[in-house]
């Protein structure tokens, strides 16, 4: 894992004091709310429905047990004993006081954490593959590149007042576990025919009210030009992204309006000019960062066997563990989706337990998934039963990764001031329904994603089944979408037709799964069947 040196620590500490000073000036009346708002947002502090909300960065979703313990302590000390893991691999607290915020940031800085640029019209926390460094299929660990971009983008003097927020994801495998092409910039680290590593740049993706899949604008940027190329992409956006309409201000609109070819031409032109400006870090820095992400000392003779005599354990192993590059190991997913629970929420006690289990069984490392679950990336198969037993006793043993119960849901109208409808209760009712009917297992992989408004924090466009909450004359109403995917087979879901009320939407989801069960051919996922047979059979079943 990356560790701060005295420079990183000095920068984070300076930021804490800067924010302490800004909050003081706000409370003293030297800053108006309009002036203060972008400053607090760039420190992750929102004003939400019930209180201030603080979003803490978990860079590329990686943290250790000490950091997870600190997150638990913050939940207890400053909040109400829990936190919410987000679709961008961060954590947020819902009941924060402005007068405590600087103290929280100071507590975070003691464990090399921060809330820098987790909101605002700037480059946000960089996300990555939650199985980075563990996945059997990766070209290389993508996190050193994400870390390099973290440093470059932190306190960037030119790109802190962008037209709109800017999200970057870095992956390094053909399998996309980070919704890479639905980011403002998606980077895939690839190896060319000559065996050299480079970065494929995908620019202009996103969800929100105008979902778009990012086109590839350069399929191989040499790694010693990575930062300069990113700088060129951002400069073109900062100069020409629309500022007349906040709903058209994301880079996807610029790329769409210019056309990918013209945008690329402008980036290449800027890139050529920037090459002379010394923007690129010394290559030795990338080498330095890489040393933090070397493999832990995997046991060469770790046993490949798992005792499957306990059927509940065997089901969890089948569902929630993923192939690892080292023999005798797996990545184990801790589901934060108990049936009827709140997707992504974890209590302070659960956080501490996960931290301790990471220390005992996963080389002291945890990951946050964009699907709002937690990963222990490197677990010996021989330790799985002990791990599962501890998780199950704490209510963290739900065997439902990638099933219809593993729902992504934004906080929705229960917490969010932008929301039009509640997301969480819909997720709760759906997981309860499928757990009760026992269909979860037979439906196989089925990614269901719920957003409480058009901003799409719940990724509804990318759900095999998506649900979008809308406000219909003051009453919550839910549109159903089908056919989206955030993975390497990326696609945008389409709306089935008229929406449903909060009970009707649960029935509607069950109805479309029934169509799938009737129509599926061998080995087809819900998404595959939908792609083969199209929307009509689902519409007929829903609307008659």
């Amino acid at each position: 894992m990356y560790k701060y040196d005295q420079y990183d620590q000095a920068m984070v500490d300076a930021r804490v004091e800067e924010f302490r000073d800004q909050a003081r000036r706000r409370l003293e009346g030297k800053l108006t709310e309009d002036q203060f708002k972008p400053l607090r947002l760039m420190n992750g502090l929102y004003l939400q429905l019930h209180a201030y909300m603080l979003r803490v960065a978990i860079p590329y979703g990686t943290l250790d047990s000490r950091q997870m313990h600190a997150l638990a302590d913050i939940a207890d000390k400053y909040d109400r004993g829990y936190g919410h893991f987000t679709t961008r691999q961060n954590i947020q607290y819902n009941w924060i006081k402005l007068e405590d915020a600087a103290d929280i940031l100071a507590d975070l800085s003691k464990v090399e954490m921060h809330a820098i640029q987790t909101s605002g019209n700037c480059i946000r926390n960089i996300s990555s593959d939650h199985f980075a460094g563990a996945a059997a299929d990766e070209v290389v660990d993508p996190r050193p590149y994400a870390e390099l971009l973290r440093q470059w983008s932190s306190f960037h003097p030119e790109f802190s007042y962008l037209p709109r927020k800017f999200k970057i994801a870095v992956i390094a495998s053909d399998t996309d576990r980070a919704a890479m092409r639905l980011h403002d910039i998606g980077i895939n680290i690839v190896r060319n025919d000559a065996g050299e590593l480079g970065a494929a740049f995908y620019v202009g993706g996103g969800m929100g009210r105008t979902p778009m899949i990012a086109p590839c604008i350069n399929d191989f940027v040499p790694l010693d030009r990575l930062v300069t190329y990113a700088e060129a992409c951002l400069r073109v956006y900062n100069r020409y992204g629309r500022r007349d309409n906040k709903y058209k201000a994301r880079i996807k609109i610029l790329v769409h309006e210019l056309g990918a070819e013209e945008y690329t031409r402008q980036v290449e032109e800027e890139f050529t000019l920037l090459l002379d400006q010394g923007v690129e870090p010394p290559f030795a820095e990338l080498e330095r960062v890489r040393t933090f992400f070397e493999d832990p000392l995997f046991e060469a003779d770790a046993s490949p066997d798992i005792d499957r005599s306990d059927p509940d354990f065997a089901l969890w192993v089948d569902r929630n563990t993923v192939a690892h590059k080292a023999d005798g190991y797996v990545s184990a997913v801790i589901s934060l989706k108990p049936v009827g629970g709140i997707p992504g929420d974890a209590t302070a006690e659960q956080m501490r337990l996960m931290a301790d289990l990471a220390k005992d069984y996963s080389f002291d490392e945890l990951r946050v998934m964009h699907t709002q679950n937690i990963v222990l990336p490197h677990v010996r198969k021989a330790d799985l039963h002990a791990l599962w037993t501890a998780l199950d006793e704490a209510g963290l043993g739900a065997p439902n990764l990638d099933t219809v119960e593993d729902i992504i849901a934004c906080p929705g109208l229960d917490y969010c001031s932008l929301a039009n409808a509640r997301s969480i209760p819909v997720a709760q009712r759906i997981s309860e329904r499928f757990a009760k009917t026992g269909k979860t297992e037979t439906l196989g992989q089925l990614k269901l994603k719920i957003s409480g408004c058009i901003n799409a924090c719940g990724h509804h466009h990318a759900g095999h089944i998506g649900i979008l909450g809308v406000d219909r004359k003051g009453v919550e109403n839910y549109q159903l979408l089908l056919g989206g995917s955030e993975a390497e087979d990326v696609s945008l879901a389409k709306i089935t037709g008229p929406g449903f009320d909060e009970h009707g939407i649960v029935d509607a989801v069950e109805t479309v799964t029934t169509v799938y069960e009737r129509e599926r051919e061998d080995g087809e996922r819900f998404l595959d069947t939908y792609r083969r047979i199209g929307m009509n059979p689902f519409k007929e079943a829903l609307y008659g």
Partner: protein, 98 residues
């Protein structure tokens, strides 16, 4: 009726204008019809409230009930965590909100 609401600047708590002060309980809220803009301006300038705005509500059983569901969720707390609402002991509150 119209209610003036906002968040406490320091704590972020949802607050309601009572006619002379701010309260976290909607039961204390006063009708601000006619004076909402002036009160909002003055109270925000004095930093006793953050981002105040007026909403529609109607009296129901002697308690002002905001017209829009979002404001009713704001009034009490998340519907999915009754234990964290202003009135955790009242089981029927969900019906008031939804």
């Amino acid at each position: 009726m119209r209610l003036l609401t906002g968040n406490d600047l320091k704590t972020g708590a949802v607050t309601w204008w009572t006619g002379s002060d701010w309260s976290i309980h909607v039961e204390d809220a006063a009708d601000v019809t006619g004076s909402e803009d002036e009160t909002a301006r003055r109270e925000e300038a004095a930093r006793r409230v953050n981002a105040p705005y007026a909403i529609d509500a109607e009296m129901q059983d002697g308690v002002p009930r905001p017209t829009h569901i979002k404001e009713r969720v704001r009034t009490l707390g998340p519907t999915v965590r009754p234990d964290l609402t202003l009135k955790p002991a009242e089981p029927d509150l969900g019906n008031w909100v939804i």
